[in-house]
Each structure stands twice: as structure tokens, then as C-alpha cells.
Symmetry: C2
Subunit: 496 residues, 2 copies
């Protein structure tokens, strides 16, 4: 067998195992009966071991080495080699006994976090969190880096991005966003949200979500919508990209926007060519680029006036009380800005401030400028600086997210990058599609999707995030597009 | 690691992979979007290879050998060793290249069968079927046998059963069943089925099925009911035993009895202790014993007068047109006997005749007493002898079942054994529970389930079928209990 065929055989085996893993997880969160959890954990653990063994095997090491010495590889094969060898080397860099201890401590850490959050008791979580911070630092050393140790972690989620780049993006964002928020609060006219109140039967909400997805171009022959406590999207395999949402009877918009958000993720993966799947390039360029697609459909499309000009009649058909509401009133109601403690409930203006705060704390932890025990105080102070509010409990503060308890340091910035990439891509998209607003107002979502397919989706993970943004927009990733978008939209809504 | 721990580690790894396989298959039949099929086939194929490799590995061979030389093993470990080593030796007995060719030909065989059935064209299927018959004979030689080559195949599905035993069971069955059917047709008063006609909304049917399952004792925290084109039950793992059914708006009873049938399978596996799972003993004693549990709930309970005395009011709540029907009329309507061409639609009296016919043809094929090309004529003649009707097309005859096209020779008899075991177990059950009819009439299904749990379910696959029947009923498997049951029930219904 030649080097490329051998490499592809090994990688496609890994892809198959990861597909089975994805299904196990999807089923666990959407369908599995309660008492199946113990056996399921065992099966998932065994599959995870198989995947780990395959990704770190000497056979794969040899196959990578052999392929790296070949000339004239196709771009997709090169991209696969780059991405797979990165994961392979990263995983092999951690001694087996350390990784095993980490896996155990991580399970304990998550359990401790759940209990600590429940009881609002940071102190019992502290030793577990210290251990997770310790692992993150140790792993950064194993992975290696040139600038900051934080770069080694960030690279897991946002390949090629550095904290230096990130600082350069964030500084102007902070400088403009914090005062703009202040201005909205001081001088803005907050919209009236009364029209969103009421009880909305879940069956009708589900129908509305299905309708929206279908209009956006989601292919139900290549996926399905289910419900889960924590909504997510899962690319199970070529032709099988499923998404979940969560409906609450008293909160119509949370279910619909959850669907639009996950719908953006799902449209991305449905748009990746099947040829990229066996090369392990089907999952999207990076966490940030993935988030840019979900934010596109959730916010830049889903929370726009043209969208509601189109979708308002559909909404009124499902829930007749909306027939008497002005579209403009509805649009303003779903675009209120309210500084709040909880990231996942944050609006477009404040969301990135929640992330900046976490990013700063993470980098300080990784470079020993902050002790874990001082986190709560540092958190609360930053909340006051950025959002003007101070949590009265750690449950509403440093204990709110699961990420750190399971060792996901370097992950949070990708949420922010998603928002920034999204606005930057959208500016180019608008230039290329001058009639976008009219199209959306008349329910034509195909040109939008075609543009995203052509410029983003079809590359899968074959193009790295920074390169993708530069290629499409002609500029390095930056925050100005986002700031301009937010300023213009919210100055209008808040009558500034 | 000691011999037992090492053996258990290897076997529990296989169990975990098989659990993932079960989920992939369940999902494919109940939830997977249409376009996911190609990628899914690939994943399923890779997992099947992993399972095959694990079951035939030298490591497992060594572990079996080491454990076989140990003394004082617990009965469950011994049972596991017996069962796993049997599968291991059987699989290893087939040369790898032969097995690979078989897997390919099997896929082709199934496709050819589907097309041939569609076009009612046995001749195009003939060469594929000849190949499958060839493999079956070759495999029987590989597996080894003492009596007939058919025994080697039968043993896959009904461990320990021989064709000699089977002949001894079948002969008196045929001798009594064929004339009894004739008597029913000549002198019986056929029930009026008019009350079952109508349209029955699927949502209400689904609710009724869920209600019945719940009353029978099915644990919805350890399973769920879904819908599939070909209903089946799947033990995905401990605490996760799911079943499927199929609803047709114009055929109320087919959905409900489908649920009761699969419910019997599912109750069986829900009753297997979790300790047997990692030993690969969770799947039931044999195909025949499994079928005895499904037939118990479908026929001996579900088609009984006490059941309908209890369930008729529930049915009338769901479908008010039944309120004006007499329970006895309903009971007789769902127990009509009609010789028909299609096995899966056959009633209690004629079903076993369909199986006998297949069994005879299979043994003749395996012992070279029948040429594959003569199958259609031989089939049609046997139909006339046993059921008094002759199919006018092969689609309604030899082409109706998928089994032979995929090489399942030796499988059919287990359907019949299920019916016979069921009646034999039920006779003992009745003695042990003298108030069974009153209990069922008043909707108390717990004593029944407790009895089955104690005598059948809790053993999982740790006790072989013949031994299980002998232990519980004090007699070797035989057909007299079934004949007595059918005679007494249908003589009454048909006013003989």
C-alpha cells in the first residue's frame, strides 16, 4: 500500500470510531433511558480508549512520517496531515499515567463543581480547580509553545491563534464596547418586552422551529431536530448532521433562537463535502469559525429586522396574539440589552464582555499572575468594571460554567471570536449580496446559504481559521466589524 | 492478572463493542436520516470487524484455554465460557477469505432477493440462493457435527438442539395440527371480524400501546418504544432495552399485538440481572426461548379472554366504537384462523405449519435431497399438503422471507420452538398461579412477570434452552402442550 492509502486507511478508521462515539453521545442526550447511563458510560469509555489508542499509535506515527516525506500531495490530504499530526503529537506528548490521572480528576472535578455550584460553595471546589489549573499548565509545557503557555491551549480550539493576536483584537473591542454599553444604559430608550410574555405550547414551538430550519435550507434528509437539556449539534457522519434545542413554555424565543443557533452549526457541517469526511476534516475549521456560523443564523439573520418582516406572519400563524403586534416592536423586544450575571443568557452587546473577563482570568492563571483562591474576588471586580454589576454569589459568578472543572482552558475565547468572525464575514457577504435584506424579507435564504457554502462550509477543516477569514474578507481577524455592527444596530434600537 | 479476570476483561470489551453496534443498528432503523446510510454502513462494518477480530483473537483463545483449566468456577462464569468459546471456535473455523467472500455474497444475495421478490422472479435469485446454500453446507462442515450437518447450523440459534430431537417434536405436532385445521375449516363457525374494521388514528394507537406495556410491567426508565418498518427489540445494554412497533391506521390490532410481541422480548431482557451483562450472557437463552416470551405476551396473554376482559374498557376509552361490542365478540374476532400464504401474518393455529414446511425444505437442501431449483414446486406442494392452499406466485411462496438470502439456515425452527416452549411453560405457570385468569382479568400482571423473572428471565443466557425447559416444566421440550392449548382454545372459539 502506498503512503497515502495507508494513512487514509488509518484515519478513516478513526473517523468511523469517532462517528460511533458521536452517536453514543447524541443518543445519551436525546433518547437514552435513565437507567442506561452506567452501561453507556462504560461503552463510551471503551470507545474513547480505542480512539485514543488509534490517534497515538506507532502505526499512525509511521504513516504520518511516511506521508510527510511525499511530494505533491493534494491540498486536502496536506490539510488532513497537518491537522491529524497535530492532534497525534499533542496526545502523545502527555505521559500515559498523567493522562489517566487527569481523566479521573476531571470526572471528580466536574462532580465537585456541580455540587459546589448547587451549594454556592467555591471553597469545596477550590482544590479540584487548582488541580485542573495544574494539569493545564503541565499540558501546555508538554504540547510546547513559542510565546505564552496559553497559546498551547488556545491552539487546541483555535488552531494557529495566539494570545498576542487575541490581545490585539480584544483591546479595541473593550475600549469601544464598555463605553457603548454605558451609553445605552444612560441614554438609551429600552424596548418594551411585554409582547413576548405569555404561555406558548411546546408542540406549536416545535413546529415553528422545524419550519424555520426548513426555510433556512437545513436538509432533513441529512439530519433531524431533537430536544436536549443542553442544546448542541452533532455531525454523526456524512449525510447525518443532527441538532437539538430546548423548548420552555414560558419562553418562546429561547427555543426558537436555540434552534437558529444550532441550525447555523448544522448548516455548516451539512455543507462540508463528503470527500473531506474520511480525511477527518468534516468538523469545521475551528471552534471560532463554527461559532461564527451559529451566530450568523441566530443573531445577524435571526435577530434582524428583515428576518422578522418575513417571519412575523409565520409566528402569528402559530401564535395569533402576535398578529396585533408591530413588526418593529417585536424586533426591538427581542433585541434588548441587559447586563446580567449569566453568560449563556447574555445579549449581543454584553456577551463578549463575559468572555473577555474569562480570557483575562485564564491567561493570568496560566502565567501565575493570579492564584486560584483569588478567582472569585477577581471575577466579581471584573464584572463590575465591564458590566457595571456585581454578583452577590459565586453561583452567579465564577461557578457558573462547567468548562474549567473539566480542564477546558483556552476554549472561552472561541465564543468571542465566533461573534467577531461572524460580523467580519457578514460585511463581505453584504457587499457580495447587495440585495440580502430584500431577499431575507421575502424569505429567500438560498443566496445567503450559497455564499456561506462557497466561502466557508465547503472547506470543512481544510483551511485554518485565520487564513479563512483573511481569504474571504481580505483582512486579518479584528473586532472593528463587530463594533460597527453592534453600534449601528443598537443605537437605532435604543434611539441614541 | 488471574485467568478469570483476564477472560472477563476481554469479554466485557466485546460486550461494549456489541452494545455500540446495537445502538448503531437501532438508530438506523428508528431515527437515522435517509442520507446517513452510506456513512453508517461504513461505521457498522468497521465495528463488525472489530467485534469479529476480538471474538477470534489469539488473545481470547489463550484466555479461554487458561480459564478452561481452572477449577471451581462460578456457574455464570462457566456458562459464559461455554457460550463464548463456542462462538469463538465457530468463527475461527471458517477461513478468513471464505468469510469475506460470504459477507460480500450475502449483501448481494439480499439485494438480489429484494429485486426478485419485487419482480416475482425466482430464476434471477436462483444462483444467489445456490451460493448461500453452498456456504451453509460448507460452514456446517467447518463447525462440525455428530448427527446431521443441519445440527451444526441449528446450534447457532438453538444451542444444543438437534434435528433428531426436532423431528421427534414435530411429527406428533403435524399429525394433530393438520387434521385439526381441517376440522376447523369443515365444521367450525368462523368468528365475525367486522368489529375490527375502521380507521384508528396512530396517536391514539401509540398511547394504547404505551399503556399496555406499562401495565405489563415494562420499565420505561430502562427502555423506550419507537417505530420501525420491521419491528424488533434491542438490548443495547444493562438498563437500556428498547422495542419498536409499527402502526397502520387501518389495522389496529397489528400495531398493538406487535407491541405485545416485542414487549415480551423486552421484558425478558429487562429481567436479566446486570451481573450477567459483562459475561456476554444478557441476550437470553436461545432464539427459541426468546420467542417463547414474545409469544407468551402476544398470544397466551394478549389473545386471551381474561386479557380482553381487562383491556376492553381501555380500548373503548381510546376508540369509543368498541364500547358497544361484546368482549366475547372482540375476543373471537382477534382469534380467527385463516390459512394464508404469508408466514408473518399467520394465526396461532397455522403459524407452525409455515415453519415445518421451511424446516423440511432446509434439511432436504442441507442433506442434498432437494435441489435449489426445485424449491418453488416443493414449497407450493407442501403448502397444499399442510394448509390446503397453493400460492399462485413465488412472491407469496418461496420468495417471501429474507432469511435464506442472507444465509440464515437453521433459524426458522426457533419460531416454532418459541410457540411450543411457550405453551409448555404456560402449563407449569398455570399450576403455580392458579388464580392467573382472575389476576389478568383484574389487570394484575405482576405475578405473571414475577414467575417469568424467577424461572426464565433471571438466567439470561446462563442456562441452555433444553435444560431450561426441563428444569422448569419437568419434561423435555415437546409439542403436546401446544396442541392441547390450541385445540381447547379454538374448539371453543369455533364452536366445535
Amino acid at each position: 500500500m502506498d503512503a497515502q492509502a495507508n494513512y487514509q486507511r488509518l484515519v478513516s478508521n478513526i473517523v468511523a470510531l469517532e462517528s460511533a462515539e458521536a452517536l453514543l453521545s447524541y443518543d445519551q442526550q436525546t433518547a437514552m433511558p435513565k437507567k442506561g447511563i452506567e452501561a453507556r458510560s462504560e461503552v463510551a469509555g471503551k470507545l474513547a480508549t480505542l480512539v485514543f489508542d488509534a490517534l497515538t499509535s506507532n502505526e499512525l506515527a509511521d504513516a504520518i512520517k511516511a506521508l510527510e516525506s511525499e511530494d505533491r500531495l493534494q491540498p486536502e490530504v496536506l490539510a488532513s496531515l497537518r491537522s491529524v499530526s497535530k492532534v497525534h503529537r499533542r496526545m502523545r506528548s502527555i505521559p500515559a499515567d498523567v493522562y489517566e490521572a487527569f481523566a479521573t480528576d476531571r470526572a471528580r472535578g466536574q462532580a465537585a463543581w456541580e455540587e459546589a455550584r448547587e451549594r454556592n460553595d467555591f471553597d469545596t471546589f477550590l482544590p479540584y480547580l487548582e488541580r485542573m489549573v495544574g494539569y493545564a499548565k503541565q499540558f501546555a509545557e508538554c504540547y510546547g509553545y513559542t510565546g505564552s503557555p496559553y497559546d498551547a491551549l488556545l491552539d487546541i480550539y483555535e488552531s494557529g491563534m495566539t494570545s498576542q493576536q487575541l490581545d490585539g483584537i480584544i483591546q479595541p473591542l473593550r475600549e469601544q464596547l464598555v463605553p457603548f454599553l454605558q451609553e445605552l444604559r444612560d441614554n438609551g430608550q429600552a424596548p418594551d418586552k411585554a409582547c413576548l410574555e405569555g404561555a406558548f405550547p411546546v408542540a406549536a414551538q416545535r413546529k415553528l422551529s422545524l419550519q424555520a430550519l426548513s426555510q433556512l435550507g437545513y436538509d432533513f434528509e441529512s439530519g433531524r431536530l431533537d430536544e436536549a437539556v443542553h442544546p448542541f449539534t452533532s455531525g454523526i457522519g456524512a449525510g447525518d448532521v443532527r441538532l437539538t434545542t430546548r423548548f420552555r413554555e414560558t419562553d418562546l424565543m429561547s427555543g426558537l433562537f436555540g434552534t437558529l443557533h444550532e441550525g447555523g452549526h448544522a448548516l455548516y457541517e451539512q455543507g462540508v463535502p463528503t470527500t473531506l469526511h474520511p480525511l477527518r476534516l468534516a468538523g469545521g475549521s475551528s471552534f471560532g469559525i463554527h461559532e461564527s456560523q451559529s451566530r450568523m443564523y441566530e443573531n445577524l439573520i435571526g435577530r434582524s429586522l428583515p428576518f422578522w418582516r418575513h417571519f412575523h406572519p409565520e409566528l402569528s400563524k402559530a401564535f395569533p396574539q402576535f398578529a396585533s403586534v408591530e413588526t418593529e416592536t417585536l424586533y426591538r423586544a427581542i433585541n434588548t440589552v441587559t447586563p446580567s450575571f449569566i453568560r449563556v443568557e447574555a445579549d449581543e452587546v454584553t456577551y463578549n464582555l463575559h468572555i473577555m473577563l474569562r480570557y483575562e482570568l485564564e491567561t493570568e492563571l496560566m502565567t501565575d499572575r493570579l492564584a486560584v483562591e483569588d478567582l472569585p474576588e477577581r471575577w466579581n471586580q471584573a464584572m463590575e468594571d465591564y458590566l457595571g454589576i456585581r454578583p452577590s454569589s459565586d453561583r452567579d459568578g465564577v461557578l457558573q460554567d462547567v468548562h474549567w472543572s473539566v480542564g477546558y482552558f483556552g476554549y472561552f475565547p472561541t465564543y468571542m471570536l465566533g461573534n467577531l468572525y461572524c460580523a467580519q464575514l457578514f460585511a463581505t457577504l453584504r457587499k457580495d449580496l447587495p440585495k440580502l435584506d430584500e431577499q431575507i424579507t421575502s424569505g429567500q435564504f438560498a443566496p445567503l446559504l450559497e455564499w456561506l457554502r462557497k466561502h466557508v462550509h465547503r472547506h470543512g477543516a481544510a483551511v485554518e481559521p485565520v487564513e479563512l477569514i483573511e481569504r474571504v474578507t481580505g483582512e486579518a481577524p479584528n473586532s472593528q466589524f463587530f463594533v460597527d455592527y453592534v453600534r449601528s444596530k443598537y443605537a437605532d434600537i435604543y434611539r441614541l
